[in-house]
Subunit: 186 residues, 2 copies
């Protein structure tokens, strides 16, 4: 078996193990990912559309997942008053609290035990792999706001950060979060 084969098989298998581990606290793996995403996405990206792109699923499926989370009172949905087709998603307090039990922590701990050299190599190679796959997948990289070409840092006068694409102000918090619109600066 070639090295590439091994990588493919192990990645597939790791994915399965993680997914099995993710049946925690009555939530399904997908629901955990949605919760996690909402915790890390900035205000422009906390909507069903962005989540759909992020997860790479169809909007119908995402809609159902969000319904399930809503029923459990882990998120709220609010119609945008300016464009009433849009929906804003927010974690509720129980939702935020639940994230402390996020099963992804077990993966992190395992990565921790890997040793610095191996860990760096793994992190680098995985990033490259994910990038290669997403680019061919029309999925965006979903990088952090601050690194986006449309990000305008706070000027000398103490003005807030701004997004030059959406022409909107950005809190310090927002600018450190994930954004659907993010385009890597070149």
């Amino acid at each position: 078996m070639s090295e590439s084969d091994e990588i493919a098989v192990i990645l597939e298998r790791l994915g399965r193990v993680f997914q099995n581990d993710a049946h925690v606290a009555g939530l399904k793996p997908t629901q955990w990912e949605a919760l996690r995403y909402l915790a890390r996405a900035n205000k422009f990206s906390r909507n069903p559309k962005a989540l759909t792109v992020y997860l790479g699923m169809t909007k119908g499926t995402v809609s159902q997942t969000l319904n399930a989370l809503d029923r459990k009172n882990l998120i709220t949905k609010k119609t945008d008053m300016i464009d009433r087709r849009n929906v804003h998603l927010e974690l509720t307090r129980p939702g935020k609290l639940l994230l402390e039990k996020d099963p992804i922590a077990t993966i992190r701990k395992k990565a921790e035990s890997l040793g610095k050299t191996n860990r760096s190599a793994l992190s680098g190679a995985l990033k490259q792999l994910l990038g290669a796959i997403l680019s061919e997948h029309d999925g965006r990289a979903f990088s952090v706001c601050k690194t986006c070409r449309y990000f305008r840092g706070r000027a000398a006068g103490g003005n807030p950060h701004r997004c030059a694409l959406l022409d909107a102000p950005l809190s310090v918090e927002d600018s450190a979060q994930i954004c659907v619109e993010a385009e890597i600066r070149n």
Copy 2:
């Protein structure tokens, strides 16, 4: 975000992307994994029990998945005549043919494009990670028969290979395949 966090997030995300890709030819991701396993497992390991351990799922779920594959005529189930509780699983010809469309190939190609150095690093680190996780998971490593401590290679007289644990003969093919019982030599 620490390197370990990044690794955890990317692995989770890669798993999702792969899983989405695995909806091919009318099969679900789990069904593909079962098929793949059966193609790579030796005769002692082509049964529901071993598959259950390999996939890390409950036997009920596995039973259903196997039923689905049976309905599609991709596998056969046959009761063991010696111990009638056991079931032998085999790929049918259509099952084997279908494996040529295995969506895991797309992952392999991506790994291919990674470059030798990165690829080796990734392969090594992933193996270590999977090992660490499985060991804590009471999941076995499922290594290849030949590397097992119970493997007895063909003697000078031209006798067949043998498994000293099950006290059974091994074809050349079997001994190159995955075995549930495999225990790494020390």
